[in-house]
């Protein structure tokens, strides 16, 4: 395959030429790899509709996040097709979305179950591409799945808009030209948290890490260790815990034997709920070490986790991509329209996938084509505002969004079951920006490769 050099004019020309060729059907034609259609790229939309593939975990450990993502996707489709109150479309800085679908085509969607397994996720994504003719795949709520589906989309010539995936790898060592991530990552969590922690707890702390034993845990631990050591902290020990662990007492007890005065829990979901509960039960929060109060930190927070851990999260610091209580117009509009439809505020997973869908639709409109290479070109180095995170840049070098990161802590006096986190600080984007060839991101070896339009 030669390196594509797509311009808007060129795309329209090939589209027209292929359209003429298309009149000859139905006949027998030789479609090369993945050919679902015949306008120069995989699954070119025919007729008045365009199909998006929403691939989320509906069963398995992240089913809650998946269900919330699906709600947000349905809301986004409704808004793109001109229904509802338009959500964040009016606040979005780019004004190409007019409620008439994407490029005038009505948006339809198919859904699938990733089961939080890369095999099942790929099977589901493939059926969307091969059978349903999806032009874009989005979703995922674990990094393993996101990396697997992103690679598949690269191979198939489809755009992948990642959902909830926090590991550095997605836009680090496993980055792909056809894949884009709006969510923040481990590095950003570390960089945003460290100064806040140094302010709150002092610069001469000794940290003990408990880390979930898989890729996301590793990248998060690395990011937090580097960022906090940069502030003058010392890392006493970093212990890996099996992902399936439910009783963490055997991991918490040794912490008491060391001279550590901060415990960092690089855990997510049920893991974090169990380990935090265990740590609190062991009385770590009332402990005094080295003359200082013992503290606990959770690098990645979500509202669903905070709810699971209950009163234990009070006063514990962490980072998050977005929170519904943000005061800006975009967040307010989204929370209102999500709340009106479903009766409760959206989670950060819902927010990120809603943004991704809008960003994709807008990029297609600006490019004037569904061709993945044209869309990628439109998204690269695109600056936007009004989607709840302030001014944001979709960096072209690694397809990662750069925006402010929220440092939050568990609220002391929650007013409802959704009001569990309070925003401590909005870390400005300049503080969490890194070079595309940062060692944590796969170094100089990591490459996007070239964009693949498929067919």
């Amino acid at each position: 395959m030669s390196k594509s050099n797509i311009t808007r004019r060129g795309v329209i020309k090939t589209g027209a030429a292929a359209g003429v060729a298309g009149l000859a059907t139905p006949t027998i034609f030789d479609g090369s790899a993945w050919a679902g259609s015949h306008t120069g790229f995989t699954n070119a939309p025919q007729g008045g509709t365009v199909t998006l593939g929403f691939n989320v975990p509906q069963t398995g450990p992240y089913a809650d996040e998946g269900a919330d993502e699906l709600r947000a996707y349905e809301l986004a489709v409704e808004h793109l097709n001109g229904g509802g109150d338009g959500g964040m479309i009016p606040t979005f800085s780019s004004k190409t979305l007019e409620g008439n679908g994407i490029l005038g085509k009505k948006v339809e969607f198919v859904t699938g179950d990733t089961q939080t397994k890369s095999d099942a996720a790929r099977a589901s994504a493939k059926s969307m591409i091969e059978k349903d003719g999806a032009i874009m795949i989005t979703g995922g709520s674990s990094s393993g799945v996101a990396v697997a589906v992103q690679a598949l989309c690269q191979e198939a010539g489809i755009i992948f808009m990642a959902g909830l995936t926090h590991s550095n790898d997605t836009t680090g060592k496993d980055r792909k030209a056809n894949g884009f991530r709006h969510f923040f990552n481990s590095y950003m969590s570390g960089a945003a948290l460290a100064p806040v922690l140094a302010n709150a707890y002092g610069k001469d702390r000794k940290a003990y890490h408990l880390t979930a034993d898989y890729n996301w845990g590793y990248t998060t631990e690395e990011a937090v260790v580097q960022a906090t050591e940069g502030m003058g902290w010392e890392t006493v020990n970093a212990v890996k815990t099996p992902l399936t662990q439910t009783d963490f007492s055997s991991y918490i007890a040794p912490v008491l034997q060391t001279d550590a005065d901060v415990l960092v829990l690089n855990h997510y979901g049920g893991n974090m709920i169990n380990s935090l509960t265990s740590a609190v039960q062991f009385g770590l929060r009332d402990k005094v070490a080295n003359g200082k109060n013992f503290e606990i930190v959770v690098p990645l927070y979500s509202r669903l986790m905070a709810r699971g851990a209950g009163a234990n999260v009070k006063g514990i610091f962490g980072s998050t991509n977005w929170h519904w209580s943000l005061p800006d117009a975009g967040s307010q509009a989204f929370t209102k329209s999500f709340g009106t439809k479903y009766g409760f505020p959206p989670s950060q997973a819902a927010h990120t996938v809603y943004c991704q869908t809008l960003l994709y639709a807008d990029a297609v409109n600006r490019a004037g084509s569904f061709n993945p290479c044209a869309v990628a070109e439109a998204l690269e180095d695109f600056e936007f505002d009004g989607l709840g995170n302030g001014k944001t840049l979709y960096r072209g070098a690694d397809h990662q969004c750069f925006k402010d990161v929220l440092v939050v802590k568990g609220k002391e006096n929650p007013t409802s079951e959704f009001d569990l986190l309070e925003i401590v600080e909005v870390t400005p984007v300049s503080q969490v920006t890194y070079a595309p060839d940062h060692p944590q991101m796969g170094g100089a070896e990591a490459t996007l490769g070239s964009c693949n339009p498929g067919a």
Partner: protein
């Protein structure tokens, strides 16, 4: 034909015809009709049908013949996959060495595990194999991350340069068979129908036919008879002076190699591996496939595999919007009611649907789908069949 008796040759011919014409058979509904949702004739699912068919055939050689219930068969599938992907990353993008390497590694692994596990039978054997599989999963998930890629698994990357394949700089290599890419398809559109003939599917299908043929020969061989003897009464067999251990070990290794073949093919069709391929639920799935289709029958496990993969991929994709389209012709109240009734069984409820089907089969058709087929067959040709049965019972020697 090919050393098969008339009945087996007939069965084999039917299987050949079905697999070769699968793109037509699995796409019975026109592209734009409402029922197109139920079409299964797209490359990925067809590939899965035959690959899991191979996996189930192999499992059936162990479980169906010797009665040894292995609860860790997915580990061999995983080992085969990891071996195959490393072959592609390092040596060549041609699928043949990858598949062969997958079979060899799974066979070696099967030998080791079989040697340890065969010292116990019954439930203890199942627990030992289950423990082994979970151990492999844990190793792949975290301990061996440098080799297995951990949670994110392994893929072919732009930076990989296999020794014997030339990949242009910055391009991601694709699996091929002497230049024929696994993903390449030929599409035939007739009227409203669209049929896809995928290179990868036909390669996997040929592998399945070979695997199926070997399994028929094995079932009918003296070796197969020995394995059946192990199942019916191992003690009596030992008392007659026969050592059953080598037979069970051989069956275990063969069965592991079938799983390795399936694993290698999975990588050949879709170049990535993740550790959850070895998770215990994956091992449980193949047990379900065998039981659903009919344990100890030749074609049963393949049918069971097809059934489960169909549920997983088709039922799980039906959502409320689609239901509303189907029932749009009804008055609003009844439409919502119908959607409400069916909702728990579709989308994320596909496990529930599968569970109900499984229960119905186990309760009413203990012999699996094959027994269902036989009963239908008997309904139509009762007289002829009754004669045939009378004839066959007459020939059976007294025990």
């Amino acid at each position: 034909m090919l050393g098969l008796n008339k009945k087996d040759a007939g069965l084999f011919t039917i299987v050949i015809v079905l697999t070769m014409l699968a793109p037509f058979i699995l796409n019975p509904f026109p592209e734009n009709s409402e029922l197109a949702q139920f079409n299964a004739g797209y490359p990925d699912l067809m590939q899965r049908f035959v690959i899991f068919g191979i996996f189930a055939i192999g499992f059936n050689i162990l479980f169906g013949l010797t009665g040894y219930l292995s609860f860790g068969h997915a580990a061999f599938l995983g080992v085969g996959s990891y071996a195959a992907i490393w072959m592609m990353k390092l040596l060549t993008l041609n699928v043949i060495p990858a598949i062969i390497m997958g079979i060899i590694f799974a066979g070696l692994c099967g030998g080791g595990v079989g040697f340890v596990a065969r010292s116990r039978s019954g439930i203890y054997f199942s627990i030992l194999t289950l423990a082994f599989a979970q151990m492999s999963y844990a190793l792949a998930y975290s301990v061996l991350t440098p080799i297995t890629g951990g949670e994110t698994g392994l893929q072919i990357k732009a930076t990989d340069s296999p020794l014997m394949s030339s990949v242009p700089e910055g391009e991601i290599g694709r699996a091929n068979l002497f230049g024929l890419e696994m993903g390449s398809s030929y599409e035939l559109s007739v009227g409203g129908w669209l049929f896809t003939f995928n290179a990868g599917y036909y390669i996997a299908a040929v592998c399945m036919l070979i695997a199926f043929y070997l399994s028929i020969r094995l079932f009918r061989s003296p070796f197969g008879m020995m394995l059946r003897a192990v199942k019916s009464n191992q003690q009596r067999m030992n008392y007659t002076g026969l050592n059953s251990k080598p037979y069970t070990l051989a069956a275990f290794v063969i069965s592991g190699m079938y799983a390795g073949l399936a694993g290698g093919l999975m990588v050949a069709m879709d170049t990535q591996v993740g550790p959850e391929r070895m998770f215990w639920t994956a091992s449980g799935e193949v047990v379900l496939m065998a039981i659903l289709g009919g344990v100890g029958t030749l074609i049963g496990p393949v049918l069971g595999a097809g059934m489960i993969k169909y549920m997983e991929n088709i039922i799980s994709k039906i959502n409320d919007n689609i239901l509303h389209q189907w029932f749009a012709f009804m008055p609003d109240g009844i439409e919502d009611f119908m959607v409400f009734i069916i909702h728990p069984f579709i989308g994320k409820g596909w496990h529930l649907t599968l569970g109900i089907v499984f229960m119905l089969v186990v309760i009413f058709l203990p012999g699996g789908l094959v027994e269902g087929g036989q009963r239908i067959g008997r309904l139509f040709g009762r007289k002829k069949r009754a004669e045939a049965e009378a004839e066959s019972t007459a020939k059976t020697p007294a025990e």
